[in-house]
């Protein structure tokens, strides 16, 4: 592993115990909710008020390791999931049938479906973003069709991928504080080479991206959140930073030990869905991975500048779908009462996140030592 970045090196070593946060995604029209925890996808049909069972016609394997990225695309018609098992799976949400399984060479850290539903794009831990056509009409569309490289952040973990609402741009964020805005070309299978801008300003890793629109819908902006505890607003066409919000002090407490690991909402935005959960919890034994779902409503009441004073977290009975939904998405009821498990999860997730994304600080002496160890190892290899 001589060439791996120091961070990655250690990340790989602790591979077996890697703890991944649970994820949640809500259908843009509020038709369904999906929770991913560990290698498991749990989906609930809000329209039909019933648990969804996923099916797989893609002749590919199913997820066997932590899912790291999920998301709806193409106005909710498609859903994608991807993760450490190097699989990217695309699901048709009318039947919840997996229509496509793609194998990546490396673990996948981010995934996005183009707004027109024609392409799925995913990124690996070495900074390469790939693209695959989902167009089934072409005669050559077969399961063995390979994803092709779209663009690259040189050797940096890509943490988030998002298409602009009009599908003209793709934004990619990385561990090296960088956000790249690339023109999404007409023929993306031959690569996306024209960089529109870089949004530079974060002073630590960038964690997540979201495009937003002004109310007339004709102007889009980009939001980003990062390890520097800021959310930033960008004019992504020029890459200029419009506003910075320090969130360190403004974090909302939901009460108890609940710290959401992921949020989701439909475009009508009446409910904010939250999940807290983690895979592979050390003291959690072999039982189900922990996932706890909570919902805030009604969102219309939130005044963001008033420090969320009037947030209401719904009681379990009031959650859309009620206990049936919670049983499906959490695996069991009353998870929120399991304070100990939630506390353990919060700690484990913090550590995992730090290990994965925060650049290590070494003293000069320590650095020299590491260099020496590496070189000795190399010399030893040469002599073998």
């Amino acid at each position: 592993m001589e060439e791996a970045a120091a961070g990655m090196e250690e990340g790989e070593q602790s591979q077996e115990a890697e703890v991944s946060p649970a994820l949640i995604a809500v259908h843009p029209l509020g038709k369904s909710v999906v929770v991913a925890v560990g290698s498991e996808l749990r989906a609930y049909d809000l329209d039909g008020d019933k648990a969804i069972s996923l099916s797989d016609n893609s002749s590919g394997p199913s997820h066997s390791e932590d899912i790291k990225a999920i998301g709806f695309g193409a106005k909710g018609k498609l859903f994608a999931s991807a993760g450490n098992d190097k699989l990217v799976k695309v699901w048709a949400t009318d039947s919840w049938n997996c229509m496509r399984t793609v194998c990546s060479e490396k673990r996948v850290s981010a995934v996005a479906i183009s707004p027109d539903g024609l392409f799925v794009s995913f990124a690996d831990k070495f900074g390469v973003v790939y693209i695959l056509s989902l167009d089934e009409k072409g005669a050559e569309a077969s399961a063995d069709k390979k994803a092709v490289p779209l663009l690259g952040h040189y050797c940096s973990i890509i943490t988030s991928l998002e298409f602009s609402p009009d599908g003209q741009f793709i934004a990619s964020a990385d561990r090296d504080f960088k956000i790249r805005i690339t023109v999404f070309p007409k023929r993306p299978l031959s690569g996306a080479h024209e960089i529109q801008s870089f949004c530079l300003g974060h002073t630590d890793f960038v964690l997540c991206l979201a495009f937003i629109c002004s109310s007339d819908g004709c102007q889009a902006f980009l939001l980003s959140g990062g390890g520097d505890s800021t959310v930033r607003l960008w004019d992504f066409m020029s890459g200029s930073l419009l506003d910075t919000c320090e969130v360190g002090l403004k974090v909302v407490s939901i009460g108890g030990h609940f710290v959401p690991t992921s949020l989701g909402m439909s475009s009508t935005a009446d409910h904010l869905w939250m999940v807290m959960g983690a895979s592979n919890l050390p003291s959690h034994g072999s039982s189900l991975p922990l996932a706890c779902v909570k919902v805030i409503s009604p969102l219309q009441k939130i005044k963001l500048d008033e420090e969320h004073s009037n947030l209401t977290v719904l009681d379990d009975e009031e959650v859309p779908g009620g206990q049936k939904l919670l049983e499906k998405l959490q695996g069991r009821l009353n998870v929120a009462e399991d304070h100990e498990a939630l506390e353990v999860a919060a700690e484990a997730l913090k550590t995992a996140m730090r290990n994965l994304l925060v650049k290590r600080q070494y003293s000069v002496a320590n650095r020299e030592l590491r260099k020496k160890i590496r070189n000795d190892r190399k010399i030893k290899q040469q002599h073998q």
Binding site: P149, S190, E194, A210, I212, S224, K250, V252, P260, L263
Partner: protein, 355 residues
């Protein structure tokens, strides 16, 4: 929260003033509140990660532009090339002249104090993939170039940035090694600011001292060249704005023969995207190597990239810079001494053709 106010958008940095974007969620004046509130996801996810303590952050990521600050120790730590140290370099007289060519340039009776290369031998290769331990500017505006090119940035007494932004770097020598190309280009284009980017710290130090010695021995000359220690494969966008450069040089880059190490090569289809971003339309990229396989590789990357186009033979003949490719750098001279063949590829940044 960061609800943008009209005032902030009134005057845009680029072009026309824009209509007021409204995505207030308070009274739901939002096109897509879902997307806006998605920021809460960011916010909450962020809360999982404790921010590094301020001390650590400063250490790992110093702002390069020395802020007007009373903490002089801190500010000299921030800029790699503080004035005081500059003087110290110049005063140091033990280092003798290095290259014949430099000695000729530094004639006129002046005792030149050029650094000796052998004091700066470093590991042959540095690993461009590993985490870095040198300061990285957050963005191009974060670099204080008055430290690099004091003669081009007259000291502004009132401490305002004034017209700092007027002078921009136009040439970049990527992997500049011992700096021979910069030294030659300096007098050929005396009004153009140029910078070398070098990964190895000792080599960078050497180039710094070489430039300072040349400046000292030739007052008024060599003021337009400088060097930074950085990994060009990761941080080009941190140094250059879109379309800022008119020339980029990649002379005798490390070959990285093994297939699995090809991704360490400084020219690749993906990296060319970034070089195309930094180059203005019409700008040139110069590459040369004595390794045939690498020459083929660089040429085919450039050939296959939609934003680059080969420069015609006749133009190459007329371009005085082309002659420097084989003769100006230390590596080039070594190859020439050994009678080695070289393979060059020179391409122009173009606008992608509509299909």
């Amino acid at each position: 929260m960061c609800i943008p106010s009209h005032e902030k958008y009134g005057t845009e940095r680029y072009g026309e003033p824009r209509p007021k974007p409204r995505f207030l969620v308070g009274n739901l004046e939002v096109a897509n509140p879902g997307q806006f509130l998605f920021s809460l996801r960011l916010l909450l996810a962020v809360s999982l990660v404790p921010a590094p303590s301020p001390a650590v952050r400063r250490h790992s990521f110093p702002r390069l532009r020395a802020a007007p600050s009373v903490d002089t120790a801190a500010s000299s730590r921030r800029s790699w090339w503080p004035q005081k140290e500059q003087q110290r370099y110049i005063q140091r007289s033990k280092v003798g002249p290095l290259l014949k060519s430099d000695r000729q340039m530094a004639s006129n009776g002046h005792k030149s104090h050029l650094p000796r290369k052998r004091f700066y031998r470093a590991r042959a290769h540095s690993n461009p993939l590993s985490d870095s331990h040198f300061p990285i500017p957050i963005s191009p505006s974060d670099v204080d170039y008055s430290q690099h090119f004091p003669a081009f940035f007259p000291v502004d007494r009132d401490g305002t940035d004034g017209n700092l932004s007027i002078r921009k770097i136009h040439f970049a020598d990527i992997g500049c090694g011992f700096g021979g190309l910069l030294v030659n280009l300096s007098t050929m284009f005396p009004d153009t600011l140029m910078i070398g980017m070098e990964l190895r710290d000792k080599v960078t130090e050497y180039v710094k001292e070489r430039i300072l010695a040349l400046r000292a021995a030739n007052p008024g000359l060599y003021e337009n060249i400088s060097v930074v220690r950085t990994n060009s494969m990761k941080y080009i966008p941190n140094y250059f704005e879109k379309g800022q450069l008119s020339k980029m040089f990649f002379l005798f880059p490390d070959p990285h023969f093994k297939e699995k190490n090809h991704r360490r090569r400084v020219i690749s289809l993906h990296l060319l995207d970034e070089y195309a971003y930094a180059l203005q339309v019409g700008g040139l990229i110069y590459t040369i190597t004595d390794v045939e396989e690498l020459g083929d590789w660089m040429k085919s990357c450039l050939e296959n990239h939609p934003l680059f186009e080969a420069v015609s033979e006749s133009e190459l003949k007329a371009d005085p810079v082309v002659k420097l490719l084989t003769s100006a750098t230390e590596e080039g001279q070594k190859v020439a001494r050994n009678g080695g063949q070289t393979y060059q590829a020179i391409y122009r940044r173009v606008v992608q053709e509509e299909e």
